[in-house]
């Protein structure tokens, strides 16, 4: 429960605000350039490299890291892990923000943003994986929005309506999980069509599975990671339930993440075996692949395990950060590093500072929005008016 006064009294010239302000300003300039000079003016994209950082990071990583929403809500509402209930709202919020930002970023990358709905209203290219991704992301954004709006029906206090709302949460959660399963995996499936361009070690008929599994890891890790951040910076905003359940969330999700990581490691190895790509492991790309597999899959898996067994909350938090980084590395590898590996280095892509700048801008927008929302809305605490009746 916070007092409005201490918000008003705080001066706006906090270091955070200043930095954020600068970044947002630069972002706006880049925006202007993009929509006057075209992609050529701001990006290093070429006819060989049509997809760059804005897809590799903003889309692929954005979606993966926003997986916390469906993971948490599934855990709580479907798997009935009520003790993590306090984690749901923040997760949903970050999920919602994440997807919103992905869509925002797409508006920069795509040639004619206003046509983004075309596949669904004008002409549907149903053979395209991108069509499925688009459809699912769109729907899921709506789902997240509804999930994010507080359960209004409680106001009316009607028992039937309340039951309906309870059922609706279930429906939304299930729908959310379905949509997430589909588009998280399909983001990987996007690359199935380019076996001649993606390095064999990363190309696999299993790549949709890889993306889906790793999205679960990303979701779990993000919840822990954000949890620790919010706890650090917004402890004041948390009520005792949150503070109490926080630990449970960290340990529970840490354990889950560890186990899923183990499975992920296994399927990655299966991937190599299926296409008999062992020999590539001795090449330079192989070395880099091993870094990803050992350093960003096996290592966090073990660290999580250690953290859970020894009840070492800090270790788990740092591991979460590492795992999140690992997901980013993986998405970068698939989309940027191992893609077009056959091209001479002169033809390879490296993002321009403006591309990086815009990505930073997008992230900053997200952080600011999150900060604003958790400051003014009941995310980290339950509003006394609508105590949700959970045992």
């Amino acid at each position: 429960m916070f007092k409005l006064s201490d918000v008003l009294n705080r001066s706006l010239l906090t270091p955070f605000n200043i930095i954020a302000g600068i970044i947002l300003f630069i972002g706006l300039i880049i925006t202007a350039l993009r929509f006057t000079g075209g992609l050529a003016a701001v990006t290093n994209l070429s006819d060989y490299n049509p997809w760059g950082l804005w897809i590799g990071f903003d889309l692929l990583c954005g979606v993966a890291l926003a997986a916390g929403g469906y993971v948490t809500s599934a855990a709580v509402y479907i798997f009935g892990m009520k003790k993590y209930h306090s984690a749901v709202r923040p997760a949903i919020l970050t999920g919602f923000l994440g997807y919103a930002l992905v869509v925002l970023a797409l508006n920069y990358d795509v040639g004619r943003p206003w046509r983004l709905p075309y596949p669904f209203v004008v002409q549907a290219g149903t053979t395209s994986v991108l069509f499925e991704v688009g459809a699912c992301v769109l729907l899921y954004l709506v789902v997240l929005f509804i999930e994010f709006t507080p359960a209004a029906s409680e106001w009316l206090g009607l028992k039937r309506a309340r039951n309906l709302v309870v059922r609706l949460t279930m429906l939304l959660t299930i729908l959310g999980v379905i949509l997430s399963t589909l588009h998280q995996s399909s983001l990987g499936a996007l690359f199935l069509i380019a076996p001649s361009k993606l390095h064999p070690l990363w190309y696999s008929q299993y790549i949709p599975v890889f993306f889906f599994i790793s999205s679960i890891i990303a979701g779990l890790s993000m919840v822990i990671f954000e949890g620790s951040l919010t706890h650090r910076y917004f402890a004041a905003k948390m009520d005792e339930t949150h503070l109490r359940e926080k630990e449970d969330v960290v340990f529970g999700f840490g354990k889950a993440a560890s186990f899923v990581l183990a499975a992920y490691f296994a399927v990655k190895v299966f991937g190599i075996a299926m296409d008999d790509n062992w020999r590539y492991l001795s090449t330079s790309y192989g070395a880099w692949f091993l870094v990803e597999l050992i350093g960003f899959v096996a290592l966090p898996c073990l660290l999580y395990a250690a953290g859970v067994r020894e009840k070492n909350i800090r270790l788990i938090k740092w591991t979460a950060a590492w795992a999140v980084l690992g997901i980013v590395v993986n998405r970068f590898n698939v989309c940027l590093v191992a893609f077009n590996w056959h091209l001479p280095s002169s033809e390879r892509y490296f993002p321009s500072w403006m591309e990086i700048g815009l990505s930073v801008f997008i992230v900053t927008v997200g952080v600011v929005a999150f900060k604003f929302i958790v400051t003014y809305m009941p995310i980290l605490y339950e509003h006394p008016g609508y105590k949700t009746p959970h045992p």
Partner: protein
């Protein structure tokens, strides 16, 4: 994850029979592409690198004039690719033989029988026409550039400098001309007939005949006959195609096959996840209910015990009180008797 296409087709086929009443769809289908579709055979051994094709292409497609005039052959010295301003380019490759004999060859859209770009496009901006060309419709294109990712020949290009109306640019096989019965611009311009134009079957025949007649002159491979499921541009060469930078490792799988498996699982997930999830939900709910049941019993028991205790305490207290009362009475009686006895002695 990836259901085999066969299985998927069987599944869809079953649906087809019942729902659509279409012809037996359960057998794995095979598509031969459009019969009579047109084709160009590029005999690389005949190309002299005169860039007439580039000129012709530029003219008939009304593309912007080139930076260096087409008559300037020095541009051939470094490798070029198709760009948003040039649909086709001629490249030079120096044969690694004793006398470095230059080999020229033309690059443009190969007009796949099963185009990867079309398969990848989520607004169906690309169409495989029955004439054999793969055409592009800018009026629906969103500009996501997934087609460029998908194309194994790295042909489609993008107008990166267009802020709001960028298009994908690629060879159209001069579709408007061809439908009018004219030759494609490049073919018409080629002086040596390094580009032969005709029905695909005929061009394949021609290619085979040339290989048979001049065994020494050609490598025994018609590029484009099977690559990525076959293309409407075919190539003959005197040196291995990989030397010319043409990928020989593309395989023969048509592009749509590559993603169909993954897409095939979508309905499965959509149909089965709800059941699975609600199942899990039900289980967890049931567990929860049982738990809550136990809790109530426990409470009741605790209450009962508590009551019993308090009862005992109460009775004990009452006993005590009773005893005190009686004592008090007896005491009082005793004193009274003593006093009365004292009185009688004095009299």
């Amino acid at each position: 994850m990836s259901l085999s296409r066969r299985g998927f087709l069987a599944w869809m086929g079953a649906a087809g029979i019942t729902a659509l009443g279409s012809q037996a769809g359960a057998t794995p289908r095979h598509f031969k592409g459009y019969p009579q579709s047109l084709c160009v055979l590029h005999d690389i051994t005949l190309c002299i690198g005169c860039r007439s094709c580039e000129t012709g292409c530029n003219k008939v497609n009304e593309l912007p004039p080139p930076a260096v005039p087409f008559s300037d052959l020095s541009v051939l010295d470094k490798k070029r690719r198709t760009t948003a301003k040039t649909y086709t380019v001629v490249n030079k490759y120096l044969d690694s033989g004793q006398e470095k004999k230059p080999i020229f060859f033309k690059t443009q859209c190969n007009h796949c029988l099963e185009p990867a770009c079309a398969s990848a496009c989520f607004v169906r901006a690309f169409t495989k026409t029955k004439e054999g060309s793969v055409t592009y419709d800018a009026s629906v294109c969103v500009g996501c550039r997934y087609c460029m990712i998908a194309c194994p020949f790295e042909i489609p290009t993008y107008e990166y400098d267009e802020p709001l109306t960028p298009r994908i640019m690629k060879c159209t096989f001069c579709h408007p001309r061809v439908t009018k019965g004219l030759l494609p611009g490049c073919v018409e311009a080629c002086p040596t007939e390094a580009l032969s134009f005709g029905k695909r079957e005929d061009m394949l025949k021609l290619a085979r005949e040339r290989i048979n007649k001049y065994p020494g002159r050609y490598v025994d491979h018609i590029y484009g006959e099977h690559e990525m499921g076959g293309t409407n541009w075919l190539y003959l060469s005197g040196v291995p195609f990989r030397n010319l930078g043409m990928r020989e490792d593309l395989g023969t799988t048509p592009a749509p096959e590559l993603t169909s498996g993954a897409l095939a699982t979508v309905p499965m997930v959509a149909a089965l996840w709800p059941v699975l999830l609600t199942g899990i939900y039900a289980l967890s709910k049931r567990k929860e209910k049982l738990l809550s049941g136990d809790k109530q019993n426990a409470l009741a028991q605790a209450l009962a015990e508590a009551n019993a205790k308090s009862q005992a305490a109460l009775t004990a207290a009452m006993e005590k009180a009773k005893r005190e009362k009686e004592e008090a009475v007896q005491k009082a009686v005793k004193t009274a008797l003593e006093q009365s006895a004292k009185k009688t002695q004095e009299q």
